[in-house]
C-alpha cells in the first residue's frame, strides 16, 4: 500500500486545480439530494433509498463531515423501513431484501447507533441477524436476496458483512459459504455472480470481501487475480470492470478495494487513477459521475471518494476496503 503515491501533499492551497477535490461542493450535493422531492426521479429511485442513504452517509464520513445529515432523522427513517421479520425494505412499504438490510446495518454501525436501535426495538439486532441467516441455503452455502430466492455472490457478501459488524457470524454456516465462493472462481482468476458466470470486478469485490471476512484468502489465486485486476487499468488511468469494456469511476472502488485486500494496490498507477477520478467531479454542483462529462449521482460519488481514500488522497478519512465504511467505524465494531 505504501507504494501508492497520492497526488501532491503540499496541501490544497498548492494543489493544481485539476487535482483538487471539491469537498464543500460534494457535501452540499449530498445534502441537497433529499430536498429534491419535487422531481419524479426522486420517486422513481425510491427502491434505492436505503442504499442511497448508506452511500451518502459514507461519503460524508469519508469527507470528514459526519454531521452533515440529521442523525435522528436517519434513524427514524431506518425504523420506518424495518419489517417484523427483521429485514429492511428500500423505503416504507417496500418488501424486505438482503441488500437494504445490509445498508441499514452499515448505517447503524457508522452512526454508532446499535444501542439506540436496541432500545427502540428490543432484540432488534438479533432479529436482523436471524432474517439474514434464514436467507442462507444450508445445502449449498449460497444466500438468496429475498424470499423469492434469487442467488448472487453479492447477497452472500452482504450477509457476511452485516453479520460480522453485529458480531453474529455464528448464525450462518461460514464454511459452506466459503466453499460456494470458491466455486465461483474462474479460469482467468476472477469471480462471477454464480459458478460459471463471467468474471466481473464488482463480483470480485464481493467474493474477495467475503473470503477476507471469513479469513480464507488462502483460497484465492492471488497472483493471477491481482494480474487480472491490474489489467483493468486503461491508458487514460481509469479502470473497467471486464476486459474490453469502458472505464467507470465505480470500478475504481471494486478493483482497488480487491487489490487492497490482496495487498497489491501498488500494482496499478495510483497517480493516473487519482487524476481520472478527479476529472469526474462536477466542480460547480458537486458530486461525481461514472466518467468525465456524464451526469453525477450519489453512487459514483461515494465510490469515487472511497477510491481516493484508498489512494491516500490528503484530507480524507481512511476507508476500510472490505466494508466500504470508515476504518474507524469497522475498528470499533470488529475490535480490530
Amino acid at each position: 500500500m505504501s507504494l501508492v503515491s497520492g497526488p501532491g501533499r503540499a496541501g490544497m492551497a498548492d494543489t493544481p486545480v485539476e487535482l483538487q477535490l471539491f469537498v464543500d461542493k460534494h457535501v452540499r450535493y449530498i445534502q441537497s439530494l433529499d430536498t429534491r422531492k419535487d422531481e419524479l426521479e426522486y420517486w422513481l429511485t425510491e427502491h434505492l433509498r436505503l442504499n442511497g442513504l448508506y452511500w451518502g452517509i459514507t461519503a460524508l464520513h469519508l469527507l470528514g463531515q459526519p454531521d452533515a445529515l440529521p442523525r435522528q432523522g436517519i434513524i427514524d427513517f431506518l425504523l420506518s423501513c424495518l419489517h417484523g421479520n427483521g429485514g429492511f425494505g428500500a423505503a416504507p412499504g417496500h418488501d424486505a431484501h438482503m441488500l437494504y438490510t445490509v445498508s441499514a446495518v452499515q448505517i447503524l454501525a457508522t452512526l454508532d447507533a446499535f444501542d439506540e436501535f436496541e432500545e427502540r426495538i428490543k432484540g432488534g439486532r438479533k432479529r436482523i441477524g436471524q432474517y439474514i441467516a434464514d436467507l442462507q441455503d444450508r445445502e449449498t452455502g449460497t444466500f438468496a436476496g429475498d424470499e423469492w430466492g434469487e442467488r448472487d455472490t453479492r447477497f452472500l457478501y452482504g450477509a457476511l458483512n452485516a453479520l460480522s459488524l453485529m458480531g453474529l457470524l455464528h448464525l450462518v454456516d461460514v464454511e459452506k459459504a466459503v466453499e460456494h465462493v470458491h466455486s465461483c472462481a474462474n479460469f482467468d482468476g476472477g469471480y462471477g455472480t454464480r459458478p460459471g458466470s463471467e468474471s466481473h470486478a464488482g463480483q470480485v469485490f464481493t467474493c474477495v470481501g467475503a473470503l477476507t471476512i471469513a479469513g480464507r484468502l488462502d483460497l484465492v489465486d492471488q497472483a493471477k487475480l491481482g494480474a487480472w485486476l491490474s489489467e483493468r487499468q486503461l491508458k487514460n488511468g481509469g479502470l473497467n470492470g471486464r476486459p474490453e469494456k469502458k472505464e467507470d469511476v465505480c470500478y475504481s472502488w471494486w478493483v482497488m478495494s480487491s487489490l487492497a485486500m490482496l495487498n497489491k494496490l501498488h500494482w496499478i498507477d495510483g497517480e493516473k487513477l487519482t487524476a481520472f477520478i478527479l476529472q469526474c467531479q462536477d466542480p460547480e454542483g458537486g458530486g461525481l459521475a461514472d466518467r468525465p462529462g456524464d451526469m453525477v449521482d450519489v453512487f459514483h460519488t461515494v465510490f469515487g471518494i472511497a477510491g481516493l481514500s484508498l489512494l491516500k488522497y490528503p484530507g480524507l478519512q481512511e476507508v476500510d476496503p472490505v466494508y466500504c465504511m470508515p476504518r474507524a467505524v469497522t475498528k470499533r465494531c470488529l475490535g480490530k
Partner: protein, 312 residues
C-alpha cells in the same frame, strides 16, 4: 388528483393507500408525480387486501412501465400470476417488449427465469436472447440467464456451441461470449479431465482468434486457461508466442499479452532469467507502462525462490 383509477368504475371499490412517510422527518415525504402516485396508491391497497386478480395484473403492468426497478411490484405480480393461474405464455409475450425497453433492469430476468422454469420449455428463448444481445452484446444479465437456460434444459450441444462461435465471430472482443464457450466446453466437465481432441480444438480456436487480433485479452485468457486446465507446460506455447513478441526484435511486439506470456515461459526456465527480465522491462517501459509497478514486481520475483515464480 386521481386520473386513471379514481375515475374508473372497475376500481370504485378500492380506496388508495397514501405513501406512509414514516413520521415527522424530512427524509421521506409525499411528492410522487401524479400518475405514478395514484397507481402506487392502488397497489398498496390491493396488496393490503391480498387481492389477486386480472385487474391487479394490469395495475402491476402499468407501474412496471413507469418504474421497472420497483422490485416489490415484480414480486407481487409473480404472486398474482401464481394465484390466478394465469397463462404463462402470455406473460412471456408481454415480457419480451418490456425487457427490450428496459435493458439495464435485472428484476425482469429473475421473473422470466421463474416463468420459463414453470413452463418447462426453452422454446423461443434463443431468438429472444439474440434480439436482446443485438442491443448490448455484453449484457451480463442476459448471458447469466443464457447459462441458466443451458443448465436447466441441458442444452450443452453442438447448436449452442455454434451459436457461441457466431457471437465470437461477430465480435472477438466479446469476453462474455468467450466465457460462455468456457462454460459449455470446460465448465460442464467439473473436475474431470478434458479429452485430448477437445484440448487441441480449443487451443487451435483461441490461436486463430489471436492471429486475427493479437492485442485482444479474451482469447489470451482463454488459451492460458485451457493450457493450465490440461496441465500442459506454458512452454508448449512458446513458438506461438514468438509470432507476436520476439526479444530479438523488441520494436516489433504486436501484443503485450504475448510478451507477458513469454516472460512467464522464460521465468520458469532457470537459464533464461535475463530474457525474462528483458521481456518484463519492455512491458514496464514500452508496451504497458501504466502497469509498470506490476511488471517490476514480477521482475523482483526473478531473484527470489523458484516456488514464488509461478505466476500463471
Amino acid at each position: 388528483m386521481p386520473i386513471l383509477y379514481g375515475a374508473n368504475p372497475t376500481w370504485a371499490d378500492v380506496t388508495p393507500v397514501p405513501q406512509e412517510d414514516g413520521g415527522p422527518h424530512p427524509l421521506a415525504a409525499i411528492a410522487y408525480a401524479e400518475e405514478y402516485s395514484e397507481a402506487m396508491g392502488y397497489l398498496r391497497a390491493v396488496m393490503a387486501a391480498n387481492e389477486y386478480s386480472q385487474r391487479v395484473l394490469g395495475l402491476t403492468e402499468h407501474i412496471i412501465s413507469l418504474n421497472p426497478a420497483h422490485y416489490t411490484v415484480w414480486l407481487y405480480r409473480a404472486k398474482v400470476l401464481d394465484q390466478i393461474g394465469a397463462n404463462l405464455a402470455d406473460e412471456i409475450s408481454w415480457l419480451n417488449p418490456t425487457a427490450l425497453q428496459h435493458l439495464k433492469n435485472y428484476q425482469i430476468w429473475h421473473h422470466r427465469q421463474t416463468i420459463i422454469d414453470k413452463l418447462g420449455s426453452p422454446e423461443g428463448e434463443g431468438p429472444f436472447i439474440s434480439t436482446m444481445l443485438e442491443q448490448d452484446s455484453k449484457n451480463y444479465h442476459v448471458w447469466s440467464y443464457r447459462q441458466w437456460l443451458v443448465k436447466r434444459f441441458d442444452l450443452f450441444d453442438e447448436a449452442e456451441l455454434a451459436w457461441t462461435e457466431s457471437m465470437i465471430e461477430a465480435d472477438a472482443r466479446n469476453n462474455s461470449a468467450w466465457n460462455h464457450r468456457w462454460f459449455l466446453v470446460v465448465g460442464r466437465k467439473g473436475g474431470q479431465a478434458l479429452e485430448e481432441s477437445i484440448v487441441d480444438r480449443e487451443i487451435q480456436y483461441a490461436k486463430a482468434a489471436i492471429r486475427k487480433a493479437p492485442q485482444n485479452q479474451s482469447p489470451w485468457n482463454y488459451l492460458g486457461g485451457v493450457v493450465r486446465r490440461a496441465q500442459l507446460p506454458a512452454s508448449s506455447l512458446k513458438d506461438f508466442v514468438l509470432e507476436f513478441a520476439d526479444l530479438d526484435e523488441p520494436d516489433k511486439v504486436f501484443s503485450s499479452h504475448a510478451l507477458d506470456l513469454l516472460a512467464d515461459i522464460y521465468t520458469q526456465d532457470e537459464d533464461k532469467k535475463d530474457e525474462a527480465r528483458k521481456a518484463l522491462d519492455l512491458l514496464a517501459v514500452k508496451y504497458d507502462p501504466i502497469r509498470a509497478h506490476y511488471w517490476n514486481y514480477r521482475k523482483g520475483l526473478l531473484d527470489s525462490s523458484p516456488a514464488a515464480q509461478q505466476i500463471a
